[in-house]
C-alpha cells in the first residue's frame, strides 16, 4: 500500500502568541514562510506542532502561548487537513475558564491530544536542536524519543513512568531515616519494567531508521551518511540478544546493588535515564560533535528525512515536516538536495527563513507566504 499524502489546507489562529486573528487559507503543497525576525514565522510553525502529542516544538507552557497584548487567557488554533482523500477539521486551544487545560475538537466533537496520531504525524527540526550533538545526553535522548514516539505512541508513557519511578527512588535514597528495602525494590521493578520497554522501542527505531538513512544518503550525496547508535545500560543488554524479561532481572539487580553509591552521590549511576544517542559522520569517520555546524545540521536533516520515510512506510501516511530556519547552515548544494527530497517524497514541508532567495529552488512548487507583524501575504 502506497503511503497516503497528508497536508494542511488552511490554518486559523486566534490569540496565539503574536497572532490576534489570522487565517492562512488555500494552502497548496509545501509552504515557505519568509519575513523579518519576530514576524511570527516560528509561532505559526509552533501552532502546527501542537497537532502532535506533547507540548509542541518549543515545549512551552499554555500560558506562554497566549497572546500577551490581548489581556485574554484563551487561544485557539484550527486546521483543515486532508489525508487519504478525507478532509478533517481539527482544533485545539484553551478556554479562559480553564486556562490550564488544552482541549481538542475533531470535526466539532470533543477529542483528546492522544487522538492526533490517528489523523496526522508532525515532525520538526528547529535551530534549538542544532546544538544537540554538543549538549548533554538528555537533549539527544529527548530529540530521539520524539522520533520513537512517531512509531510507538505508548513510548512517552513508559518514559514518564520510569522517570517518575527514578525520582521516587532517589527521593527515598536521599531522605533521612531508615530506608525500606522492599519499597525500593518495588520502585526498581517499575524502573526495570518501563525502562526496558522504552529501551526496546528506542533500539527498534534506530534499527529501522539506519537502512533508510543509508539508502537516502547513498543516492543523494549532498547529505552525509549518519550512523546511529543508541547506547544505554538497558539498550546494550538488549543488543546482546537478551530477552526483555531477562534484561528486567539484570536491571533490578544492578539498581539494587547501586543503592549505597547513588545515595551518597545523589545521582542515579545506572538506568534508562543515562541513555545517549551517538551519531557518527560515516564519510569522515568522526563523531557528530566534532563535525562543523553545517555538517551537524546536515546530519540532523538526513535523520529527520529518513524518519519521515519510516513514518510513511509504517503508518502508510506521509508526515508533515516543520523546518524552522532550515536554510541557515546549509550550503546551496544541500539546500537544493533538501528541496528535491521533499518534492520526491511528496511530504508537506513548512519552512521558514528571513531570505526568500534561499528558497528559489522551490519557485512554482511551493506556496510562498510573506509574514509581517503576524499577518500573512500570499505571494
Amino acid at each position: 500500500m502506497t503511503p497516503q499524502p497528508s497536508s494542511i489546507n488552511s490554518i486559523s489562529l486566534h490569540n496565539f502568541r503574536s497572532y490576534e486573528d489570522a487565517t492562512l487559507a488555500s494552502i497548496a503543497g509545501s509552504v515557505v514562510l519568509t519575513g523579518p525576525n519576530g514576524a511570527g514565522k516560528t509561532n505559526l510553525l509552533e501552532a502546527v506542532s501542537l497537532f502532535a502529542p506533547g507540548r509542541g516544538m518549543r515545549s512551552a507552557s499554555l500560558a506562554e502561548m497566549v497572546n500577551d497584548s490581548s489581556g485574554k487567557r484563551d487561544f485557539a488554533i484550527s486546521i483543515n487537513m486532508s489525508a487519504a482523500d478525507t478532509d478533517t477539521q481539527i482544533g485545539t486551544g484553551v478556554a479562559a475558564a480553564s486556562p490550564g487545560k488544552r482541549s481538542v475538537r475533531v470535526n466539532g466533537v470533543a477529542a483528546m491530544i492522544a487522538d492526533f496520531p490517528s489523523y496526522m504525524s508532525v515532525l520538526w527540526l528547529t535551530p534549538a536542536q542544532d546544538r544537540i550533538f554538543m549538549e548533554g545526553a538528555s537533549d539527544r535522548r529527548r530529540f530521539f524519543d520524539r522520533l520513537v514516539l512517531g512509531l510507538f505512541p505508548d513510548h512517552a508513557g513508559h518514559v514518564a513512568r520510569y522517570e517518575h519511578a527514578m525520582r521516587e527512588r532517589m527521593k527515598l535514597l536521599t531522605s533521612d531515616g531508615t530506608i525500606d528495602p522492599a519499597w525500593l525494590s518495588a520502585l526498581e521493578a517499575r524502573v526495570a519494567e518501563h525502562g526496558v520497554a522504552a529501551a526496546a522501542a528506542r533500539r527498534e527505531t534506530a534499527l529501522a531508521l539506519q537502512p533508510l538513512i543509508d539508502a537516502q544518503t547513498d543516492g543523494l550525496s549532498a547529505f552525509p551518511r549518519a550512523a546511529l547508535a543508541v547506547l544505554g545500560d538497558f539498550e546494550n543488554l538488549l543488543a546482546k540478544g537478551l530477552p526483555a524479561l531477562a534484561v528486567e532481572d539484570v536491571a533490578r539487580g544492578a539498581l539494587a546493588s547501586r543503592r549505597t553509591n547513588d545515595a551518597s552521590t545523589g545521582r542515579a549511576s545506572y538506568g534508562p535515564g543515562r541513555t545517549d544517542v551517538h551519531v557518527t559522520h560515516c564519510g569522515k569517520g568522526q563523531s557528530a560533535d566534532r563535525c562543523s555546524t553545517g555538517e551537524q545540521k546536515a546530519l540532523l536533516v538526513a535523520i529527520i528525512l529518513a524518519h519521515a520515510q519510516l513514518i510513511a512506510s509504517r503508518l502508510k501516511r506521509m508526515p508533515i515536516i516543520l523546518l524552522d530556519e532550515i536554510a541557515a547552515h546549509l550550503d546551496a548544494d544541500r539546500r537544493h538536495a533538501l528541496f528535491e527530497i521533499i518534492m520526491h517524497l511528496g511530504v508537506q514541508a513548512w519552512m521558514t527563513g528571513t531570505d526568500r532567495s534561499l528558497f528559489s529552488g522551490l519557485d512554482g512548487m511551493a506556496s510562498f507566504i510573506r509574514v509581517n507583524n503576524a499577518q500573512f501575504n500570499v505571494e
Binding site: 475558564a97 492522544a114 510507538f152 505512541p153 505508548d154 508513557g157 513512568r161 517518575h164 519511578a165 525520582r167 521516587e168 527512588r169 527521593k171 527515598l172 531522605s175 525500606d180 522492599a182 519499597w183 525494590s185 518495588a186 520502585l187 521493578a189 517499575r190 518501563h194
Partner: protein
C-alpha cells in the same frame, strides 16, 4: 456578597469535582430549593457526621464498627480484596461480583508526596493475614505507577504466607472495540491472554 454565603461557596469549591463557578451554581440552587434540596442535605450531612465511622478491621466507612461487610456471615472469609480507597470498594460492591472481604489501604505509596508504608493500612493487612484463614489476597489497585509500586510492596510483605496473591487483569473493557483501545492497554491485554 453576604459573608456567610461567600464562606459556603469557598467550602463547596474545595470539594473534588467542584470549582468556584460550579460551587456558586450549587449554592444558588440550594438557596432556591430550600425545602427540596437544602434542608435534606443539611440533615444528611449532620447524620453522616454524627454516625459515620471507619471500620477498625478493613478501613471501610459505615455507621457501625466493624462494618456491615466485615460482619456479613454470607461472605467468604478466605478471600480478601485489597483496594486503595473506599471509593474503589464502593465500585466493586456496585459490580456485585466480589463475595469475599475487603481491606482499604487508604492511598498509595509515594515518596514524592511523603506517603510511606506507615501512612497506609499495610500493617493491619499483614496482621489480618497473620491471624490465619485467608487463602487468597486480590490486589485491586489502580494501573498507575504508584498503584503498581504499592501492589509490588504489599505482595512482598505477604510473600512468606501460604496464600495465593493475585492482581486484577488489565485489558479490553466489556463491550469495547479493539480499534478504540490505546496501544498500552492492547499490549497488556495481549500479554494477559488466556485459552478459551
Amino acid at each position: 456578597m453576604v459573608a456567610d454565603l461567600d464562606h459556603l461557596i469557598k467550602l463547596m469549591a474545595r470539594l473534588p469535582g467542584f470549582g468556584p463557578r460550579s460551587a456558586r451554581r450549587a449554592v444558588l440552587y440550594l438557596i432556591k430549593k430550600k425545602e427540596m434540596a437544602l434542608f435534606p442535605l443539611i440533615t444528611a450531612l449532620s447524620d453522616v457526621a454524627a454516625e459515620l465511622t471507619t471500620c477498625n478491621l478493613c478501613g471501610n466507612v459505615d455507621t457501625v464498627n466493624p462494618c456491615h461487610i466485615c460482619t456479613d456471615q454470607r461472605r467468604d472469609d478466605t478471600a480478601l480484596c485489597v483496594v486503595e480507597d473506599v471509593d474503589d470498594l464502593w465500585a466493586l460492591e456496585r459490580a456485585h461480583s466480589w463475595r469475599g472481604r475487603y481491606h482499604v489501604l487508604g492511598g498509595t505509596l509515594s515518596a514524592l508526596n511523603g506517603v510511606g508504608p506507615d501512612d497506609l493500612n499495610i500493617k493491619g493487612l499483614v496482621e489480618r493475614v497473620h491471624a490465619g484463614g485467608i487463602e487468597e489476597v486480590v490486589l485491586a489497585v489502580g494501573a498507575t505507577l504508584d498503584g503498581q509500586t504499592t501492589a509490588h510492596y504489599v505482595a512482598t510483605q505477604l510473600a512468606h504466607y501460604p496464600l495465593q496473591i493475585t492482581a486484577l487483569a488489565h485489558g479490553v473493557p466489556v463491550g469495547g472495540e479493539l480499534d478504540y483501545l490505546d496501544e498500552g492497554t492492547l499490549t497488556q491485554a495481549l500479554k494477559a491472554r488466556r485459552p478459551l
